[in-house]
């Protein structure tokens, strides 16, 4: 039983959790920084506690303040959302020690999967395909050179503590190796406090395809239809969809099986995502995210599941419910960020003068915005997630264009024009673009509208 949930997050994901808790009849506690006093998550929760000043390290990353807020309000569970403390093993451990249920896997599992080199080894042990590369962290330049010769160039160096492209370097020949290793290590050290790196063969033209898993404490694990998250900008996902265009059911089944095998291998509990590289019809383990993902709604749209409700039920010790594991129709999510795509994604702050989200059939909006809300510079730039469902992918593309056109938003620039440009791109319309899709294109304005044009340099 969970009696009261503290939501250790802000923005749309805090709202997402509050919504489901309300539907389940569980009271919620919002925590907020002084910058978020007028935020919807504060206003819609049953209780709210101010936990610190605007900088996240002093509020949303402030573990003592959050634990104190849970104790003061009698919350017996904490939902971390995504980002902030969601994959912080120490936070999960402190929750465990304080007798507060952390809604997610155990601190031990978070810790294991947080070490990307170790996770790779575990995946391999569970029989999940991995790209050729080092078995774990490489101890020195000599070992990197040896592994690189074995698997063949190009290779990619990755930070073991990393994520999001930091501490990552593509190396195309042995001459580049030394300098790239030094740079990757320094970057990893600066970003994560650990310079440990490992080696993988670099896959040139890949798609990012991931599988959502859900596991209860009674040994039941299910894997949902995959999400294709290949439309990215600098390793930041922009558009996600389910199912992945053109994926054969047989391959889907194998990916689902692999994800379940990994989750079972580590004794996973709760919602998690196994990320794969898809290249030339084969898939390889990339990493596992031990939390709810931003893009979880696309899975909800094609299966009817409520993943947050399932997270909470599983955390309360209940068994997994029945789930539809075949996609029905097609869904896409568009991340609407406070960034100006016409000015190199310059972050935007300030008041939202007018806000009116689209409605009608097949349209879901998850957002903490409202007319009059002020975007502050302290947190991430995600303003709204537009999630669109229709009976097939072509219909989703058309409906999404309609919804984006209808999305009324003034006061700040957003990524809405970029999404519309992507939807009008021919290669995107065919489906199955690689992760280099956006980098290979330049942006042009024509008749006040943003358009993509295939640039000279090839997709990488």
């Amino acid at each position: 039983m969970i009696n009261k949930v503290l939501v250790a997050n802000r923005g749309e994901i805090a709202l997402r959790v509050i919504r489901t808790c309300r539907e389940l009849g569980i009271p919620t506690v919002a925590v907020y920084s002084t910058a978020d006093a007028d935020s919807m998550h504060r206003l819609l929760a049953d209780e709210a506690v101010c936990i610190g000043p605007p900088p996240a390290v002093r509020s949303y990353l402030n573990i003592p303040a959050i634990i104190s807020a849970a104790e003061l309000t009698g919350a017996d569970a904490i939902h971390p959302g995504y980002g902030f403390l969601a994959e912080n093993a120490r936070f999960a451990e402190i929750c465990e020690r304080c007798g507060i249920k952390f809604i997610g896997p155990s601190s031990e599992v978070i810790s294991k999967m947080g070490d990307k080199a170790a996770a790779r080894r575990i995946a391999w042990e569970a029989g999940v395909p991995i790209t050729p590369g080092s078995e774990g962290v490489c101890s020195d330049a000599g070992e990197v050179r040896r592994v690189a010769r074995e698997v063949g160039y190009p290779i990619v160096l990755k930070a073991s503590a990393g994520g999001g492209g930091k501490g990552m370097r593509v190396v195309r020949s042995e001459e580049e190796l030394e300098a790239a290793l030094t740079a990757a290590r320094a970057e990893a050290e600066a970003a994560f406090g650990s310079g440990a790196v490992y080696v993988e063969r670099f896959v040139e033209r890949l798609r990012h395809v991931e599988v959502q898993v859900l596991a209860d404490a009674h040994g039941n694990t299910v894997a949902f239809p995959e999400r294709d998250c290949s439309v990215q900008r600098r390793y930041q996902k922009l558009i996600e969809e389910s199912p992945a265009p053109g994926l054969e059911p047989e391959l889907r089944g194998r990916m689902q099986d692999a994800a379940v095998a990994l989750a079972e291998e580590i004794g996973y509990e709760g919602a998690g995502t196994v990320e794969f590289v898809l290249a030339d019809g084969e898939f390889y383990f990339m990493e596992m995210n031990t939390r709810l993902q931003v893009e979880h709604p696309v899975t909800e749209m094609v299966t009817g599941a409520d993943l947050v409700a399932e997270q909470i039920r599983v955390a309360a010790g209940e068994r997994l419910g029945e789930h539809n594991l075949e996609p029905v129709g097609h869904a896409m999510e568009f991340r609407i960020n406070a960034e100006d795509p016409r000015r190199n994604f310059l972050p935007q702050t300030g008041p939202v003068e007018f806000y009116n989200p689209p409605g009608g059939p097949g349209v879901r909006v998850d957002s903490h915005l409202y007319t009059g809300y002020t975007i502050t510079p302290y947190y991430d730039s995600l303003l709204a997630k537009l999630v669109v469902w229709a009976e097939d992918r072509a219909a989703v593309v058309r409906r999404s264009l309609r919804a984006l056109e209808e999305f009324a938003f003034t006061g700040v620039e957003t990524t809405i024009p970029l999404h519309m440009a992507i939807l009008e791109d021919e290669e995107f319309a065919r489906g199955g673009v690689p992760t280099g899709f956006l980098a290979a294109r330049s942006f042009q304005s024509s008749e006040g509208r943003l358009r993509l044009s295939a640039a000279a340099r090839a997709a990488s």
Binding site: T34, L43, L44, A45, D46, V49, I51, G52, P53, Y370
Partner: protein, 168 residues
């Protein structure tokens, strides 16, 4: 500006006979013109008994108030920024989330009572967070005028705890 002063002086001289009498409207007009030309928000000029003050029209951007309503009266703790305005007084706020204690230990005397004189740096209370006792000092010397929180209750970040009247 100097011209304005001169003129005002002249007018005052001219107005001397009919005592305070009417108002120096020509001066006012000039101040108004100055305001409009300069684009500033407010001009106040005072000399002796004469004062002219002109303000521009409030620009205030339209503010839409969010109006979300919770179904039940929320059991939320008092919000940090609520409470009366304490003009000229010093408000000590909680620097952390935790439990407020007025005394060093159960059964002991409170650190301070209303009416006590406190010095800067003197401990006013404890806020406990995660088993750590954090002593909260007064930032000013003065007299405790109000204690805003009940002993052993929870406090949020930035929540007002004490009102202190500073010593001159």
């Amino acid at each position: 500006m100097s011209e304005l002063r001169e003129r005002t002086a002249r007018e005052r001289a001219g107005a001397e006979g009919d005592q305070e009498e009417s108002l120096p409207l020509e001066t006012v007009r000039q101040v108004v013109e100055l305001l409009v030309e300069s684009g500033v928000g407010e001009i106040t000029v005072r000399r002796g008994e004469l004062e002219v003050s002109v303000k521009a029209k409030g620009e205030a951007a339209p503010v839409v108030q969010p109006a979300f309503q919770r179904s039940e009266a929320p059991a939320a703790p008092e919000t940090p920024d609520s409470g009366p305005e304490w003009e000229g007084l010093h408000v000590v706020r909680s620097p952390i989330v935790g439990t407020f204690y007025r005394a060093p230990a159960p059964g002991e005397e409170p650190y301070v009572e209303v009416g006590d004189r406190v010095s800067a740096g003197q401990t006013l209370c404890i806020v406990e967070a995660m088993k750590l006792m954090n002593e909260i000092p007064s930032e000013v010397a003065g007299v405790v005028r109000e204690i805003l929180v009940e002993d052993t209750s929870g406090v949020q970040y930035d929540q007002p705890l004490f009102v202190i009247e500073p010593e001159e």
